[in-house]
């Protein structure tokens, strides 16, 4: 191999190495999840019911169709492969080929959750992609508020005496705020009056509260679980091994390691070949015996 070729090979390898080191896109690959989650919401008070369609981006066949979704309705989370999707809302009962009332693109990243919500008034309807929180500080809960009441366009919300939002205006969405877990009274205050609900917030979980138009113009509270976690987080990892199959047990405790049972691939695969060999011998013998009879 000439020096020139070698140099060129090295250059190629270097380039390849860097190509692998540098991810093609900015989003880092999630190492714990191969799916993302999307839920669909109708939170526009004066918009009639809609049919909601979710398409893989560029596709014409809907992956998910929700019929007759009325104001105040949220779908369960749908698990999706990462990638771009299109969410379209059509008037309830319209053909799937009809022009949508509104549509938007949602870029689903693995390990992330989104709420695609129709917000605002019918005349100024927007389809917003909200990023939903999965994480919360250990032992705490995270809560956000969506102001989706047209009758009560300004609201304040407190939970257990702690203020979550003051003067929240339709159709605002707050950031997540950290609260202590437990059962508590959540109060929505508006000009038309107050509404209180007893809600149970579990540690390690995240929630969305929506303020909706209730009966008689009073506000209504819709509480939604976004993500459910672990109330008490165990510290660190787990000690689930004694070293009996470790390659080189060093400093194994008092018990002798004994003859480690070597049952790895190395021994099973030859066993497989042995069985095949025997099967072949049987086949040959069988063939011979048949021929002899004839």
């Amino acid at each position: 191999m000439s020096a020139r070729i070698r140099r060129r090979t090295t250059a190629c390898l270097t380039a390849l190495t860097f190509a692998f080191l540098l991810p093609p896109t900015a989003t880092a690959a999630d190492t714990t999840s191969t799916i993302g989650w999307v839920r669909l919401a109708h939170l526009s008070p004066d918009t009639p019911p809609v049919d909601v369609y979710l398409y893989p981006y560029g596709g014409t066949t809907a992956q998910l169709t929700l019929k007759h979704v009325a104001y105040g309705t949220l779908s369960p989370y749908e698990s999706l492969a990462p990638g771009d999707y299109l969410v379209a809302m059509r008037a309830a009962g319209d053909a799937a080929t009809a022009d949508p009332v509104i549509s938007t693109q949602v870029d689903v990243t693995a390990g992330r959750a989104y709420t695609v919500a129709g917000l605002g008034t019918a005349s100024a309807l927007t389809l917003k992609v909200l990023s939903d929180n999965l994480d919360t500080p250990p032992g705490k809960v995270s809560v956000r508020i969506i102001e989706a009441s047209l009758h009560n366009p300004t609201a304040s919300v407190d939970a257990g005496g702690e203020t979550l939002a003051t003067g929240l205006r339709f159709p605002d969405v707050t950031a997540y705020q950290t609260l202590d877990p437990g059962v508590g009274a959540v109060r929505v205050s508006t000009q038309a009056g107050d509404k209180t609900a007893q809600l149970d917030f579990a540690a390690g979980s995240t929630y969305t509260l929506a303020v909706l138009d209730g009966a008689g113009g009073s506000p209504q509270i819709l509480d939604l679980s976004d993500a459910t976690g672990t109330s008490v987080l165990p510290k660190g990892g787990v000690n689930t091994g004694f070293g009996g199959t470790a390659a080189q047990p060093t400093g194994a405790p008092t018990q002798p390691a004994g003859p480690t049972t070597q049952q790895g691939r190395g021994s099973v695969v030859p066993a497989g070949w042995g069985v095949l060999l025997i099967a072949a011998v049987v086949a040959v013998l069988f063939g011979l015996s048949r021929q002899r009879r004839k």
Binding site: T32, S33, S79, T240, A246, R265, A271, V281, R293
Partner: protein
């Protein structure tokens, strides 16, 4: 009753027509050996995946019939617990013990080497959030219940039996290896909007009586 089509009497080919043939007898014996061998192989998955021949059967206690529990019909789902784990890809079939936290706040390891354990402080498998099941990789002498956990691949099925008789199937998303001193608590125990499952065992180098790493399998509810 007396009607027997020819093809339904395979033994007659060996028994009657060649009763004393030496080669025939050898062939029968070899075939039996080969058959047994193939059965063993097929019950340990494909050659590439099947590593150690660990077959851990469920202990005979019947988990589905807790005799003492009076049926509280009011909220039957509240008391539901996971009772078994089946992972056909690595031939794991085990019952479950309940795991809490030890005095240091760490997750207890199962007391039984051939049985996995469910962390009672997390969600029940099938409910939203990350349900956690841990099992030993080995004993002092040889493989334990989760010895082959690291051989799981994306898409492999993990089925959890519940105390109310239901079964919930998850599919493996990814298998990760972490140093214990950098255990990703948030990734493993953090909130999820869907029902998920984590299987944990030990891995990596063994030093001073402990494995240095944890192997974590991340699985999501199989789409229905």
């Amino acid at each position: 009753m007396s009607w027997k089509p020819k093809h339904a009497r395979p033994w007659s080919w060996f028994g009657r027509r060649r009763p004393a043939g030496k080669i025939g007898t050898i062939a029968v014996v070899l075939a039996a050996v080969a058959g047994a061998g193939l059965w063993v192989l097929s019950h340990h998955g494909t050659a590439g995946r099947a590593s150690a021949a660990v077959t851990i059967e469920a202990s005979p206690s019947s988990p589905s019939a807790p005799a003492s529990a009076p049926s509280s019909s009011a909220t039957p789902s509240a008391a539901v617990k996971p009772v078994s784990v089946d992972i056909p890809a690595i031939n794991v079939h085990t019952t479950l013990q309940m795991l809490g936290l030890d005095s240091t706040g760490a997750l207890e390891a199962p007391t039984n080497l051939t049985q996995a354990g469910w962390y009672t402080g997390g969600p029940v498998p099938g409910q939203d959030g990350p349900a956690v099941i841990a099992g030993h990789v080995d004993s002092f002498r040889g493989p334990a219940v989760f010895f082959n956990l690291k051989a799981l691949k994306q898409g492999d099925a993990v089925t959890i039996g519940l105390s109310d008789g239901r079964r919930v199937t998850f599919h493996v998303m990814t298998v990760q290896n972490y140093p214990k001193d950098a255990f990703p608590t948030t990734d493993v125990y953090g909130a999820r909007p869907d029902p998920e499952l984590r299987l944990i065992t030990c891995g990596g180098a063994f030093a001073a009586g402990h494995y240095l790493d944890n192997v974590v399998v991340y699985a999501a509810l199989a789409s229905t």
